[in-house]
């Protein structure tokens, strides 16, 4: 009882911050429930990656391998993971709510007939969890009942686990998969090309909204500021809806949730669903010409101004600061 199995997602052999957050949350949960925390890496040949995650404070790392696990697919991963959970008898299975975590964990929960809580933000001492509902406007305390419980954690709600000097043992497990039961086929992955930091990892995020008026203006007006600040670029749902930028830049209830040290909202009115994705940022700056915009109610520093004047000015000011 109390054992935790953490899904350690890798990106070409490296572990993004979101994975280290899952490990940290898994360690916290195992400590509170009196169990052990094990990390599992799935793949065609995940041994090296498992050796890497073994350094992050877990009791053990499992390399779960099978040719059918080469590319992520929900059915193959759910089958392999469910078989492992049944074999190891873990109480909790936990992942961060990334695109993979969100896609996989409910399928796994159904396969295990286990309850699932999505995007938990806190682990209570009494065994309950806190998770945001209604775009973060109602924090629910939830209780899960059953021998196995499935969780995703919100990436911004926990710290990242840190590597230590010693590595835990790595166990190599061949996944139990009936390939004939697998019905999904990976075709291709089209990466958004960008030299900028990832939204969920960046120290600074600069986001644009409908106020930018066009995709071109994102490029010519906003991007110079993003790059001058070494920031990741985000966008409001309205800007995505209007087709200015791709959806993977969307910050909000139905996009990514971020909590950087500095969040700069440019031409974003501050709809409930956008606030849900950024209100836990440490410092929030809003630039908007409408002084009644709701974004100002959550911002530490607000500037009422025409963004088409203010943003180029800000680029110059930040430049000056760097060369001072």
């Amino acid at each position: 009882m109390g054992d935790v199995l953490v899904l350690a997602e890798q990106q070409e052999g490296r572990f993004p911050k979101t994975t280290l957050v899952a490990v940290h949350a898994g360690l916290e949960l195992a400590a509170k429930r009196g169990g052990k925390c094990t990390a599992v890496v799935l793949g065609e040949n995940p041994d090296a990656a498992a050796g890497e995650i073994a350094k992050y404070g877990v009791a053990k790392a499992i390399a779960l391998s099978h040719a059918a696990l080469k590319n992520y697919l929900a059915d193959a991963y759910a089958h392999a993971l469910a078989a492992l959970v049944k074999k190891t008898g873990t109480e909790f299975v936990l992942a961060t709510a990334t695109a993979v975590g969100k896609d996989l964990m409910p399928r796994l929960a159904a396969r295990l007939d286990a309850p699932m809580a999505s995007e938990i933000t806190a682990i209570n001492d009494d065994g309950t969890f806190i998770r945001p509902t209604y775009a973060g406007n109602a924090m629910a305390t939830v209780e899960l009942d059953g021998p196995v419980k499935v969780l995703t954690v919100r990436g911004t709600a926990f710290d990242a686990a840190k590597a230590g000097d010693a590595a835990a043992p790595v166990e190599k497990v061949a996944a139990e998969l009936d390939a004939s039961a697998l019905k999904m086929e990976f075709v291709s992955f089209n990466a958004t090309k960008s030299d900028r930091p990832q939204l969920t990892e960046a120290r600074i995020v600069v986001s644009g909204g409908r106020g930018l008026k066009s995709g071109d203006n994102f490029k010519t007006v906003l991007e110079p500021l993003v790059d001058e600040m070494g920031a990741a670029m985000g966008a409001s749902r309205a800007a995505v809806d209007a087709g200015f930028v791709p959806n993977d830049l969307q910050v909000g209830q139905t996009g990514k949730v971020v909590a950087p040290e500095l969040y700069v909202a440019v031409g974003i009115s501050g709809a409930i669903q956008h606030l849900a994705g950024m209100k836990d940022s440490k410092i929030i700056v809003a630039i908007n010409k409408d002084e009644e915009a709701p974004i100002f109610s959550v911002s530490d520093f607000g500037l009422v101004a025409d963004l088409f004047k203010a943003v180029p000015e800000m680029v110059e000011e930040v430049k000056k600061l760097k060369h001072a």
Binding site: L73, A74, D75, T98, A99, V100, K102, D103, M105, P106, R107, A109, A110, D113, P115, M116, A117, S118, E119, T128, T133, Y134, A135, N137, A138, M139, A140, V142, E143, L144, G146, M184, F186, V187, F189, A191, T192, T200, I204, R237, V240, N247, L262, I272, Q273, K282, I283, S297, V298, S299, D300, F301, G302, L303, A305, A310, M314, E317, V318, L321
Partner: protein, 248 residues
């Protein structure tokens, strides 16, 4: 192609949500109820597929009496008929997935399309659980759906880009924002919807285990963020970020 579209009734996304003082729910006075926006995208996609290939679009909802309003709205958008599973108790995602799986087993659709998440409990679970319960492929967060005979290819919105996967029908697809722009119900559509079939079934007559394993104990308002101050110029803004907040 026969398409099943599960629909949920949620507060209008623009509604300000207030938690009741007893922490057992949200205030529902002055709440306007709508079809979950992602489900609206699902209805639209189903209608477009039907318009291209012919077939039938069947809506299904699991909830209280009032939810029939949202089914009527979906029928007014152009869906052919609706199944209303009446249930007055608290259900978790697993129970809803089991109910929908039972409906799917009876109706035998080629495709189930639904929203990727409901904007009230923000769980993002039922589509995936339904796919597993049926043993069907799943394509969540879809931004493009194409068919060649029984083969379906879906472009998915994932972290860092777009992923394309393929499978044979039947399958479960969940919709993301950019899949389409839903139509409004037309006046003739609304008139016609009144005469369309809306079949009511009691949830407890389905022979499905409805007992929830996930229970919401209480709700609480989130900590409120203090609003800060306005600055007078860009120069002042950059200065305070540097000297006071020390973030640049």
């Amino acid at each position: 192609m026969k398409i099943l579209v599960p629909v949920k009734r949620v507060p209008d996304p623009a509604t300000t949500i207030r938690v009741l003082p007893d922490g057992l729910g949200i205030a529902t006075d002055n709440v306007k109820w709508v079809i979950n926006p992602f489900d609206e995208i699902a209805i639209e996609e189903a209608l477009r597929i039907k318009e291209k290939q012919s077939g039938e679009v069947v809506l299904v909802a699991v909830g209280q009496q009032a939810w029939q309003e949202q089914l009527r709205t979906g029928l007014a958008m152009g869906a052919d008929r609706a199944i209303f599973i009446r249930n007055d108790t608290a259900l978790d995602s697993l129970a809803i997935a089991r109910i929908l799986a039972k409906v799917a087993t009876d109706e035998r659709p080629d495709l189930i399309i639904m929203g990727k998440q409901a904007i009230d409990d923000d769980a993002n679970q039922v589509g995936q659980m339904l796919a597993e319960t049926l043993g069907w492929p799943q394509a969540t967060f879809a931004s493009k759906v194409e068919f060649a005979e029984r083969k379906c290819t879906v472009v998915r919105e994932v972290d860092g880009g777009l992923e394309t996967i393929a499978f044979q029908l039947p399958a479960v697809i969940t919709t993301d924002l950019r899949l389409n722009e839903p139509r409004y119900a037309s006046l003739p559509g609304i008139m016609k919807a009144r005469k369309k079939e809306l079949k009511e079934i009691a949830a407890d007559s389905l022979g499905v285990n409805l007992a929830p394993k996930l229970k919401v104990k209480t709700l609480a308002a989130p900590p409120k963020r203090q609003s800060g101050r306005k600055v007078g110029s860009v120069a002042e803004l950059v200065a305070v970020l540097h000297t006071e907040a020390k973030v640049i």
